[in-house]
Symmetry: C2
Subunit: 719 residues, 2 copies
Amino acid sequence: MSKGRITIPTDDNFIKETMEIAEKWGADAIRDCDGFKLPKNIKDLARKVYSTYFVARGDNEWAEKNPEELQQTYLMTKHHLAKSDTLVIDIMEGYFKEQVKPDSYHDVKEFWEVIDRTTGEVVSLDNWSYNEETQEVTINNVTPWHEYTVSFLAYCIWDPTQMYNHITNNWGDKPHEMPFDARQPKTNKYIFEAMHKWLDENPDADVVRFTTFFYHFTLVFNDRAKEKYVDWFGYSSSVSADGLREFEKVKGYKLRPEDIIDQGYYNSSFRVPSKTYLDYMDFTQKFVSENVKKLVDITHEHGREAMMFLGDNWIGTEPYGKYFENIGLDAVVGSVGGGATLRMIADIPGVKYTEGRFLPYFFPDTFHEGNDPTIEARENWLTARRAIMRKPVDRIGYGGYLSLAYKFPKFVDYIEGVCDEFREIYDTIDGNKPYCGLKVAILNCWGKLRTWQTHMVAHALWYKQIYSYLGVIEALSGMSLDVSFINFEDIKNEDTLKDIDVIINAGDAGTAFSGGENWLDEEVTSIIREWIYNGGGFVGIGEPSAALGGGHFFQLANALGVDKELGFSLSTDKYFKEEVSSHFITEDVFEDIDFGEGQKNIYSLSENTEIIKYENGDLLMSANTYGKGRAVYIAGLPYSIQNTRILNRACFYAANKESEMKKWYADNSYCEVSAYIESKRYAVINNSNEKQVTKVYDGEGNFMEIELKPTEIRWMDIK
Amino acid sequence: MSKGRITIPTDDNFIKETMEIAEKWGADAIRDCDGFKLPKNIKDLARKVYSTYFVARGDNEWAEKNPEELQQTYLMTKHHLAKSDTLVIDIMEGYFKEQVKPDSYHDVKEFWEVIDRTTGEVVSLDNWSYNEETQEVTINNVTPWHEYTVSFLAYCIWDPTQMYNHITNNWGDKPHEMPFDARQPKTNKYIFEAMHKWLDENPDADVVRFTTFFYHFTLVFNDRAKEKYVDWFGYSSSVSADGLREFEKVKGYKLRPEDIIDQGYYNSSFRVPSKTYLDYMDFTQKFVSENVKKLVDITHEHGREAMMFLGDNWIGTEPYGKYFENIGLDAVVGSVGGGATLRMIADIPGVKYTEGRFLPYFFPDTFHEGNDPTIEARENWLTARRAIMRKPVDRIGYGGYLSLAYKFPKFVDYIEGVCDEFREIYDTIDGNKPYCGLKVAILNCWGKLRTWQTHMVAHALWYKQIYSYLGVIEALSGMSLDVSFINFEDIKNEDTLKDIDVIINAGDAGTAFSGGENWLDEEVTSIIREWIYNGGGFVGIGEPSAALGGGHFFQLANALGVDKELGFSLSTDKYFKEEVSSHFITEDVFEDIDFGEGQKNIYSLSENTEIIKYENGDLLMSANTYGKGRAVYIAGLPYSIQNTRILNRACFYAANKESEMKKWYADNSYCEVSAYIESKRYAVINNSNEKQVTKVYDGEGNFMEIELKPTEIRWMDIK
């Protein structure tokens, strides 16, 4: 059995045991962890040492010396009601004074904006003033009973990640790390010098684990030091007075604060992105990638590898962004919560290798007496393994206190098995692509940029409004389908849909994931209608193609065979409510279908629509023929074994390729097959903790029956 | 005990029994019924005889002689997908050829419209043609993969009500009554002559029961002779080539077919009405009211009374419309399905009396062996009685075959009691207004015009999308509150809100009942905010004040203390989820609260919002203080005893008048009190079929405890 591809943490005075575990797991890299420095004789422990590096924080001396070069963020006050012709707004109300500080160093009239939110009009600069001492904006000549907000630029005086850890772990009087801005002239020079210096001072660090670069995703706390706003994709804290001025030079027009503030929605990735916001993202991505490249080049000069942590200060270096590959990073490491997050890491283009940090973290919340950490580990491994079978990360790793894990020998044994299984999969796949039955494209406003990152708010957290859509992504992460992510501009490129079998459009009406007003673009709808009509497959989930217009809410209503009742067409009789007696899509259903949040008021447009599920007056699943193509509607699809199977069948049905489904296929829903034609090997996995019997189909549709042990992976030769 | 105020049907060869029932029930009027003629010696039976009269149908000789003067309707084809540059549309596809016929007598290019529904653009007249023979429109130079519709004018060749009855009752070869148009010159003259003639020929008819006038509400059948589209308020079948030309003369601009077609929504009363549609309604109402007035005048000339049936061909004579009172009708009669429909009739202004036709109809569906018709009668009476206590109709009546009812002596006895109870209530109230604790205004796009008629599709039918709002109206119909209906224009009249304690806004986002884009009118929101802030009460149900803008979905979010999450503000933490331990509004709750369809994704904006009900991540009921005023949010409120009490408490709470609630009040939710100060009498009603014990409060807040028998009404003196 091979060794390597495993990264572990270590601990104080834990050399012998670290070596023992490294040997057992086949670990070839050691990493440092929060609040813990690597031991001196680290080099003896592993082939490689990862050392965490912060580019834009951790040097308060520099930060304090250059307060005007601290990072900045745009903030909006809440809506204030005017009751007379003057309104006074305490702009810091609701914000955490230890985190942010209004910026009146730069001209507030240039960078702030007071808006009448009742009309949307910007208040003239003559009509308001800012009092630095009281931190109040006074607005004159307001219209009584209108609501006003102040958008203001602020300095970030505490790095959000350190702040979070500091507050969560009660770090007391430990200094608050102040983030400095790589765009500022002095700081820009400084960060490269600091990089050289650090590399010189840390000769043991083979791999610089950047955590991360310049700008943190938006994370703002409230006046009670609790999270107020979090957007893992948010750009609000990448702004600065200088940056905004530079933007105007580069893009030829001036951004308004509102372009970032966005009525207080701050361009959440659920918003259909505006042209100006896309321009701003591009501007920032370009700057960040160019400057990160310099850091990477320095790292390489020193003979080290550059690894990016996927998260924290990752704004501008999104791995599927257009400048990412130019950076020249060696590796990306990220946290694996399941299949989708694994693919988000594994599919990253332009790096030498990727690494997934698996759960559980070796922290006392899981590793305490009476708890069995192998349960979480197995769950994490089983969901991630599905995705690894499709596209493996190159390495896996763990974090936390190794000494803690060491106290759980059953866990240490279990992970040994995981590591072996991972290497076996990795070696067998050997860089080859597994067999894919269909090509599926996820269509939304973000396309490739947010590959495997749709419908997320804070990284991998559960929200009531997203799980019914995230399930689609999670299911796809381990399915025998070739998945791509496309946006509405891509649709207009005639090559985009050429090889695609199925378009999936999933999301709530008006969001970037459903597509909002893009569905009123006649070019988009024409192209997609034509494509479906000529044989394409469309799977709509939730409120697909939703944008009220022309007598429909779903712009693809006629293709889908369903529309949503908003009240306007109640007068039209809805005759079609009867379910078909059976359907290809639901042939494997073994329990009540879970539509998650589902949808209300979806109805069939004609008797031709095959209603597959109808409950309490609402259509929940249907299929429709449109020319030579087909469209499937599903009200919602949280992740589950059964829903994965439903989605698979929905895709093959939509593609009109039902007869192709049973190739490299297991008929037991708990099992999946991945075939590596070039490697002449295929694997059948059991995603459950119970033994399973399944028919396994080869590429010609021949099958045999096998029995798999709980969670087993069975490798077989392709003849 | 007094007699009278009761109308009954009679039957063939049923004189003796009719007299017996008339005596028992105290009936003083006899009416004819569908498919049955009044007997000759009718005059001996009752003081008054009602005779049904149809103005615009029932004379096929006239109709056939003047086919170009038949009534017309605007119809739209379904959306047709263009697959090449030519598109042929069979315009009658999906329509019932026995009901409607395309009108090519008038210039199709003047009155028809072909629309590219993908862009909304009208297809140039050069690019399409109509083939009368094949009933096909051929469109040239279409854009492939766009969807097209044809809007066309058609003749109505079968009156919808007669058609419905004909088909439902299998009337076989009975002639189809063709409706003629009172606006056409020959027909206009003819209907007045016919009126004279009929009155001469029917000397026994004391009361002409018009069923009804000129234009039927929109009721279109499909090619399988089933209902395709029904809108009890719809104006589509009031159009005509001449009418449209006349409109241009009167209003100074030309209507487009689309102004009536409305993308196929046909201006359903759920649509926020457009200016052009309101103009068209006004134009039609004016014409109809003026011409109906002439019929009424003729009726009066002949010494008879004119009674309008509220329904069928009632378009243009809506009783709360601005020209209605000019007509000079003596009476309106309508069908009573419950409290709201009773009030819809009872509150009609400008007539001498109103009459409610109660359920059940004496038809075999209810009056058959093994069924007890008193059950339906009691239910109907109990729900209607609540409303009668607030504002009685002047008469009640029944319909159907009297001989059928006669076979159910228990039923005949029960109705005797109903009639006596009705007269007792009527006589005691004696035209006085009962005590009202608050003045409540229902705010929507329709205001007074649709008094007690909100959220309806087909008269009194249940729809999943409406019952959660209809419940509010039904509850109010019997509550001790003074209810008015106002629209958004009324809001701008400074007198409108002067005496109002509570505004209620109930409905789904975007509908005329919530208000749609009216909530983006800064005048509207300013006035309402100011009014609440200064002490007004606001009760929002469903999606009140909903219109996305300025960072809120609910434009009164800050007043309500809640907003709806559409996905855009997921990044903002929602901390406030805890219910208050108890609240004034829910003090009487005795069973799970029924929110009907409820709402998802409503959340509290601040800790000041009192969350009264929160389930599965959704806020369902809350209250909030806004200046001196208060706003209450409720997710939905189907009609029930408990929800009536909740609404009552919500109103008193919003009005900041909790201490005033227990005046002329029963603390038992099944009981209600109505006090007639001028009559010095008050009544306590038991709305249940069980005995109830309740504290009864007088106008000073003193109470005594009484016990009421099932369904009892107890009258007491005011000291």
